[in-house]
Amino acid sequence: MGKARSKGLARSATATAMAKARNNPFEVKVNRQKFSVLGRRTKHDVGLPGVSRSKALRKRTQTLLKEYKEREKSNVFKDKRFAEYNSKISPEEKMMKRFALERQQNFGKKNIYNLNEDEELTHYGQSLADIEKLNDIVDSDSDTEDRGALSAELTAAHFGGGGGLLRKKTVSRQQDEDEEKPKSRKELIEELIAKSKQEKRERQTKRENALELTEKLDSDWKEIQTLLSHKTPKSERKDKEEEKPKPDEYDMIVRELGFEMKAQPSDRMKTEDELAKEEQERLEKLEADRLRRMHGKEEHENKKKPKHISADDLADGFILDKDDRRLLCYKDGKLDIGNDEEDDSKHEEDHDNECEEDKSEEEPDSKDEDEDAVDSHSDLESGLESEEEAISNKREKKHQGNEKNLQSEEGQKAEREAGRDELPYTFSVPESYEKLKSLLTGKTTTQQLVVLERIQKCNHPSLAVGNKAKLEKLFGFLLDYTGELATMDPPELKTIDRLVLPLYKLCQMFPEAASNSMKFVLRDAAHDMEEMIEVKGRAAFPGLDLLIYLKITAILFPTSDFWHPVVTPAFLYMSQLLTKCQVTTLQDVVKGLFVCSLFQEYISLSQRFVPELINFLLGILHITLPKKQAQGYTLVHPFRLLGKNSELLMVSDKKDMESWQKQNLPLSIVTRLKESSKTEMNHFRLSCLALCLDLIKRCGALYGSLSSFHEIVHPIRVLLTEHIPVSDYPKQLQELHQNVLKELENKEKHYNPLVCEKKKPVPLKLYTPKIVKVLEFGRKQGGSKEEQEKKRLIHKHRREFKGAVREIRKDNQFLARMQLSETMERDSERKRKVKDLLHNLATQEGEWKALKRKKFKN
């Protein structure tokens, strides 16, 4: 208590000193400002050197001097209060424990004769009993004075007891007394309370006055307003509102209605032409974007454009909204696939459940869509394709259209089948791959699709917070699942074919997660291959699942980009497949050709050069040759001129040659080669050869524009013209062979000497000053954030360092001063003592002499 007061007093003392100093112009040092800046707060415009010096001195005497004085003392003050420096225990607990300890200490030592005495209760270290007594008195006093009791003045005025003179006297005496002796604490408090109350009263009266005035003003205004205008009722209502600000129910409704969205004029419905045009524009933009990426141009334009993905996302959201609605009218137990076309058919099915009519109705629909597809493709490719290709496109589209129809029919049947099984309408996203697998196994393909679609719908990212992460995981699981389907025996490729759709959708929703999981798959595969090469020295082609993954990559991502986070690693991986993997069986050949076809597809738009592809095709052609008289071409790894597998694709049986018809290679032979007859095997071989030739033809078409095209295909041409036994082959192959040769040789030979691009002239160095925009005065400009931070820290450090040095210097000065004063004191003490002694001696001497003189006298 006392300490606190002393501190307070000290502070007040410094405050008063400062105030004094401020008032005294000789104590003030004014830091002159060169420019006065508006709005800037100046902290250090006035310095008070005297005050600050005295403050510093005080501080030193309190700390440094104490230390100095106690420098040779080894006594240490130990704080033995329980857990004083233990921050782990909460204060309440600490108090409890201390209290318990105290009780324990006191327990035994209690005065045994004093039975009544209980321990003293305290509050803030003071006995409660004392406080009670004291407080009671104080409170009652203040209360009485406040409420019931009359003030001295009042009594004096009313009752006139004692007269003015007497009162004055008493007052003056009282004042004298007050001045004479310092006020007690109680009195001080009383004074304070009285003061604050007075202030309060004054404030209240003021407010009342103001209110009265405003009321008066208002009433006046009303009177005038009636004269002025006819809007009075409104103002009146406003006043009323002001008076009772509690919101009315009616008001609330009115507000709500006011804030509610009003029906805004919407755009008119777009006609089909417009829609088609918009779609076309969108596609054109996407295509332009793709081309830009293909040429590997820098991204600076990209930022201005709205993101590629976002456009897709919008489209997605729209479809999904629709889907949600469809989910509601799902009670017939019919299923759908997710195509708009089938959506239409769905509605029709709802109306009349006959399916034959549906088909007839649906066919035009699908045709329409096919035509649309044709349109869009032609839009995409119009600049790139020649007429011939366009024709082939059309043919193919027809073919596709037929297929489509077939598919949709199949789909409908499957739908009906699946409709019978009751599938639950909501699914949670599977947390692990096993869960997804158990969810999907045992169901038909269509059912699996429905399940996946429902999972997506029920857990759309807009519905709940965690859904995004869950669905992102789902992509990975689904990818694993496709891989497993591909590794099955026989592989369920039909299912994979359909599963591509949900994969595509998920990929459109979460491009990053999709790319990451795809990269993960590729990395694993490459890692496995690397390990195998390290252990065995050679690698084998991977399973069908990886081939399928690579194919899916081409479906999900644009393969024509100059650089793409997924496609470029896929390219490198495929390149490794073609250069490192041994070709030992017919399956390897099929796998290799599959990879070649993948390459072909990847580069079909960008027309990039793939040396591995040419090498591999040359090798494949080489292993079809019967006699090894390789001349004019050299093979590279993994093919060898001679060796175990150098006649892998050779067909010697004439009958088999003649009976061969072009057939599609079933992918299932990749996982398991059926024990088929020799003829079939030979047919497989011929099909492989046909594929190889076709690939070469396509390569020829793609690379025709390359500057050294003829050098690139030279070995293949040599092999095709000189070594291959064309005459033995079936007609179809002979034709193909002719076409290939035509493709390879018809290219014009243009060899223009290379010329370097002209260097841009280097601009002369100019000595114009560098002009930097100053954004904020007083702050150092330039540099990045880190640099600025660093500069700031360096500056701070330097300042602190200087300050510390100054402080140390001052400390030393202070200490020196102290030591000096100590020695002076000691010296003066000694001088005083010496003087004393001399004085004593002198007096003694004097006395003695006086005595002596007396004696002499006597």
Partner: protein, 475 residues
């Protein structure tokens, strides 16, 4: 049975060690066991003679055990025999013929070496165990001598019949010999001798001679090609420096260089050392080097090694421009079949050649040349670089590689479009680049923006103009 042998071996080891400590075996020539003992020899002498015979048979038995099927037994007998060698060195069984002569149990060591390199089975494990004894300088010296002798004997015996296993064993033994490089390092001897300075074994020159002879004998006979490669791999840094006369290897190296293919590539390194440090003059060296360039150089394992040497050979600025141009043209022609990791290396390599030989820059910059040629003037088939007309050509190959699918390659190839900077690229980091590293680097790149395919899918093979739909079926 194996365990029995092991025990026997262990027991022998112990007993032998004890016996040697306690007894002095008969020194000097040993009479045959069944010969009648000379008269007048004491019982003690008789005992000694008998003991010596037992020791001899024990050694033979141990040598036999070195061919045992179990590795532990082999190892144990090897260690025992070497222990014998050590002890015999201390207590020689042969009397010193004259004062100051040096005695080493050569016969015993020969026996050990003989059983270390059997003709039938691979004994590389045992040889690696033997390594620790090769640390002793004297053991090493005598092992080298013994090997030399052994090879001569064995090869004499089996004329014309190649012994791949034997040669493999010999190779693993002699390639594990690490020679000291300075005389001061010759301090570690198994058998301590009194007058070391006079002993042959303490001289580095003798060591080198033994080493040289051993290798020459080994390389005299025809080697299987895998072994050939292995020898060539270590030739330049662990054989040539330790020979007294490295020029003796010229025949071997030139023969290897003429074989062609990977062996030639490997022989290049040794040949370079000879040319560089020992004044070997190799006629038509560059022509030969030029003919070595074929598509496989980008695919073989020794690519890094080969290109490092190529870099060295072509670094001289005194080479004629036609030669360098021929090299450039051939390298880039071959690059049309190269994998990306090799391309990443060879394109800067070619750029470096341009920087060193500015006269070749016409290959990429010919502002006033004949327009619209019908053929590439360069003749790929020509063996002679001077006849290849490379200087008349241009690097259309690199122009083609600017369309490569791997973006880094395309970028690297595009540098020839601009005029080159003066400073050479550092290709040392690119030489060892492997396809897997490339892949890993690519996969680890992180991006925020993943472009997507915008064409709607219908199925796995349903893209437009899909080659898959034409040739593959989803069955």
């Amino acid at each position: 049975m194996a365990a029995g042998c092991e025990e026997a071996a262990g027991a022998v080891l112990r007993s032998r060690a004890c016996a040697n400590r306690v007894l002095d075996l008969l020194a000097g020539p040993l009479p045959p066991e069944d010969a009648p003992l000379p008269d007048g020899c004491s019982a003690e002498e008789q005992y000694k003679i008998w003991m010596r015979h037992r020791y001899h048979s024990c050694v033979l038995c141990l040598a036999e055990l070195m061919g045992h099927s179990s590795f532990e037994v082999k190892e144990m007998s090897l260690c025992t025999l070497m222990k014998f060698v050590e002890v015999e060195g201390e207590h020689p069984l042969v009397k010193a013929e004259w004062k100051g002569s040096f005695i080493f149990p050569r016969e015993l060591l020969k026996l050990v070496v003989e059983s270390l390199i059997p003709c039938e089975e691979d004994s590389s494990l045992l040889i690696s165990r033997f390594q620790e004894y090769l640390e002793y300088d004297d053991v090493r010296y005598f092992v080298m001598k013994a090997v030399t002798e052994n090879i001569g004997q064995i090869m004499q015996k089996t004329k014309e019949i190649p012994l791949p296993v034997y040669q493999q064993n010999v190779f693993s033994l002699i390639s594990s010999i690490s020679m000291p490089s300075r005389k001061t390092e010759l301090v570690n001897f198994m058998v301590k001798q009194d007058h070391l300075e006079e002993w042959k074994v303490s001289k580095l020159k003798e060591h080198k001679r033994a080493f040289e002879r051993m290798w020459l004998v080994f390389l005299k006979y025809k080697l299987p090609s895998s072994l050939y490669k292995k020898v060539l791999m270590i030739l330049h840094d662990s054989i040539l420096p330790h020979m007294n006369e490295p020029t003796l290897m010229i025949d071997f190296l030139t023969a290897a260089y003429d074989i062609g293919g990977a062996i030639s590539l490997l022989a290049l390194n040794g040949l370079f050392v000879l040319i560089h440090q020992h004044n070997l003059e190799y006629p038509d060296f560059y022509k030969k080097l030029y003919s070595l360039l074929d598509p496989s150089i980008y695919h073989v394992k020794y690519r890094a090694r080969f290109f490092r040497l190529m870099d060295l050979f072509l670094s001289s600025s005194h080479l004629p421009a036609y030669l360098v141009a021929a090299f450039i043209k051939r390298l880039s022609r071959l690059a049309l079949t190269a994998p990306p990791e090799a391309l990443l290396m060879v394109i800067p390599f070619i750029c470096n050649l341009f920087r060193r030989h500015p006269a070749c820059k016409v290959l990429v910059h010919r502002p006033s040349g004949p327009e619209d040629l019908l053929e590439d003037p360069y003749v790929m088939e020509e063996e002679e670089p001077s006849e290849s007309r490379a200087l008349e050509s241009s690097l259309w190959e690199l122009r083609a590689l600017q369309n490569h699918y791997y973006p880094d390659v395309a970028k690297a190839a595009a540098t020839v479009n601009q005029s080159l900077s003066e400073i050479e690229d550092d290709i040392s980091g690119l030489l060892e680049l492997s396809a897997y590293e490339l892949f890993d680097r690519e996969v680890m790149k992180s991006t925020t923006d993943v472009p997507l395919e915008f064409e709607q899918v219908r199925g796995l093979f349903d893209k437009k103009n899909d080659i898959f739909a034409e040739y593959f079926a989803l069955d």
